[in-house]
């Protein structure tokens, strides 16, 4: 019998890849569909960044970052007070939300994993994270602004910070809770087995071990709060001047964008675009910082 090599190739049980088979066609088609959808998913980010850069990037200069906005009708000026204001308000929010949120997360994960109170707090946290931000604003308006709670002042940086902290709180609680749950139980038992109290175990072993995910969550929470407008409109209001302490109205970037974008003046519209660019950049940097924290502190 003669050996015919070509017969092997054309044999129906050949192992060669055949693109025309139905399963391979479906595979190629569905891979392409998935690729298109993921491209669409990142498209808004690329477009927003590109458009904001295009409209506002040309105004970026030293004066933009350091000067006050011009009175209506005049040219030039900057958004220095709004940048400072956003930092102040976000700082106030962080100073409230981080201790309360981390403390709450520690309670949920370490002290009462499955008690009815913990379940209730977890459920409440989930609901709170879904509450529209404008409702947080109205709530703080009713609680602090209209009652003139702080030294008889109505609108203030403090009220804005409290409103943002309400928005940040669920993120911080949830990430702390989840991060602590990922800490191996053996570490807790190891510390307890050496005669560590629960407090020492948490502060010296569990929290440091979970530091990276908690810090990442906190930074993302801050980044989200820094861009919020709705809660600030009724609480921090706005100011065309440099910040005058925590208990006076304060300018913030998001409210500046909101106010200036709808003004009938060219200079203000341009500043709104420039502020959009700076704000997006700050949030982007915060996100990059969160990633850096995650990488830098990995054990």
């Amino acid at each position: 019998m003669a050996f015919v090599p070509s017969a092997v190739v054309s044999h129906p049980t050949s192992l060669r890849f055949q693109a025309s088979l139905p399963r391979n066609r479906w595979n190629a088609l569905l891979t392409a569909v998935a690729a298109v959808f993921s491209a669409i998913a990142v498209l808004p980010l690329v477009l927003v960044l590109g458009y904001v850069l295009f409209k506002g990037g040309s105004l970026i200069s030293a004066t933009l970052l350091t000067e006050l906005p011009p009175p209506p009708g005049l040219e030039g000026g900057g958004i220095g007070n709004a940048i400072l204001g956003t930092i102040v308000v976000t700082l106030v929010a962080s100073l409230i939300a981080i201790p309360v949120g981390v403390g709450g997360g520690v309670y949920l994960a370490e002290y009462s994993r499955s008690g009815w109170f913990a379940q209730f707090v977890r459920f409440g946290t989930n609901v709170l994270s879904g509450v529209p931000s404008i409702i947080c604003g109205v709530f703080i308006y009713g609680l602090i602004v209209s009652t003139r709670l702080f030294f008889g002042q109505s609108y203030s940086a403090m009220a804005g910070g409290v409103a943002l902290s309400v928005l940040m709180l669920p993120t911080v609680i949830k990430t702390t809770d989840e991060a602590l749950k990922l800490v191996p139980q053996e570490l807790r038992l190891g510390a307890m087995g050496l005669g560590a109290s629960q407090f020492v175990t948490i502060t010296r072993i569990t929290l440091p071990t979970a530091f990276t995910p908690i810090a990442t969550g906190v930074v993302l929470g801050i980044a989200r709060a820094a861009g919020e407008t709705a809660p600030l409109i009724f609480t921090a209001l706005f100011s065309p001047f440099w910040p005058e302490g925590l208990f006076n109205p304060i300018a913030t970037m998001s409210v500046l964008i909101f106010n200036f974008a709808i003004m009938p003046y060219e200079a203000q519209n341009a500043l709104a675009w420039a502020a959009s660019f700076v704000l997006v950049l700050m949030i982007l940097l915060a996100n990059l910082f969160a990633r850096w924290v995650a990488r830098f502190t990995r054990v």
Binding site: S114, P184, E186, L187, R188, L189, G190, A191, M192, G193, L194, G195, A196, S197, V200, R204, I205, P208, T209, V299
Partner: protein
């Protein structure tokens, strides 16, 4: 058995101890006296409650939800489960080494210094770290890398680090829950040699699945078994026999012990 030991020699004694998780009785009616400065081994088939009994000796069971104990565990004349007893204080005097090596995500140095610091140790920390590592036969391997993470060590080294960490708090008793079950034979041998050294200064209770290990390291052996009781559907662990290791392995009084140590079940 326990009656032959005088009171001063007994370090820990269990009097009619029963432990349950929620409604499941895990262990029933354990009477046992752990002699001071000796190695006591707990052996028995899986699920017989030997680890549960070990954990009750320094109140680690408090950390497991639903775990309750009846009976008395007496340590130095004090009932460990009395209402006035602080479990944190108990664990400082009765340290524990776990089945899986669990070093903290800290440097080797800090792993050992941690326990000493929280116990208010004010002496020379460098000296304590060296002494603890030497006792755990780990000093030569780690003296040049004390600032490296405890995770950088091999499994056997990690377990010796955990033992060194326990030695550093200077407990009176060291409980070991299958300390070698995750280790290779060489590491196991090192830990067994270390146990021989340690019993001069500490009372050691060790749970092991490995009967040869019990023979090699222990002076006393408790054999736990699962039994059925007429009032329960599920099997309940209990202490079948407690005696000198020689007696348990060569001339046990109970048939179940004989069957187990000769490899007929378990």
């Amino acid at each position: 058995m326990t009656a032959t030991l005088s009171a001063t020699q007994t370090c820990l004694s269990l009097e009619d101890v029963s432990i349950r998780y929620w409604n499941n009785e895990a262990v029933r009616g354990v009477h046992l006296g752990v002699p001071r400065h000796k190695v006591t081994a707990f052996i028995g088939p899986s699920g017989c409650g030997k680890s549960t009994v070990l954990r009750c000796l320094n109140r680690m069971n408090d950390l497991i939800e639903g775990c309750t104990l009846s009976g008395r565990v007496v340590f130095d004349g004090q009932d460990l489960y009395a209402k006035t007893v602080d479990p944190v204080e108990v664990r400082r005097r009765i340290g524990m080494v776990f089945q899986k090596p669990n070093p903290f995500p800290k440097s080797i140095y800090d792993n050992i210094a941690f326990g000493a610091r929280i116990n208010g140790y004010t002496g020379d920390m460098d000296e304590l770290v060296e002494r603890s590592l030497r006792k755990a036969a780990l000093w030569d391997e780690t003296k040049d890398k004390l600032s490296e993470s405890g995770y950088a060590l091999s499994g056997g080294q990690q377990q010796r680090l955990c033992i060194a960490r326990t030695i550093a708090i200077d407990p009176e008793v060291i409980l070991m829950d299958e300390p070698c079950s995750a280790l290779d034979p060489i590491s196991t041998l090192k830990i067994e040699e270390m146990i021989h050294e340690l019993k001069n200064s500490y009372t050691i209770v060790i749970v092991t699945h490995n009967m040869q290990q019990a023979v090699r390291v222990s002076d006393m052996t408790g054999f736990f078994n699962v039994n059925t009781f007429s009032d329960r559907d599920t099997k309940v662990g209990c202490l079948e026999e407690f005696a000198d290791t020689q007696t348990i392995f060569n001339s046990p009084q109970q048939k179940a012990t004989q069957d187990y140590v000769s490899g007929r079940f378990g």
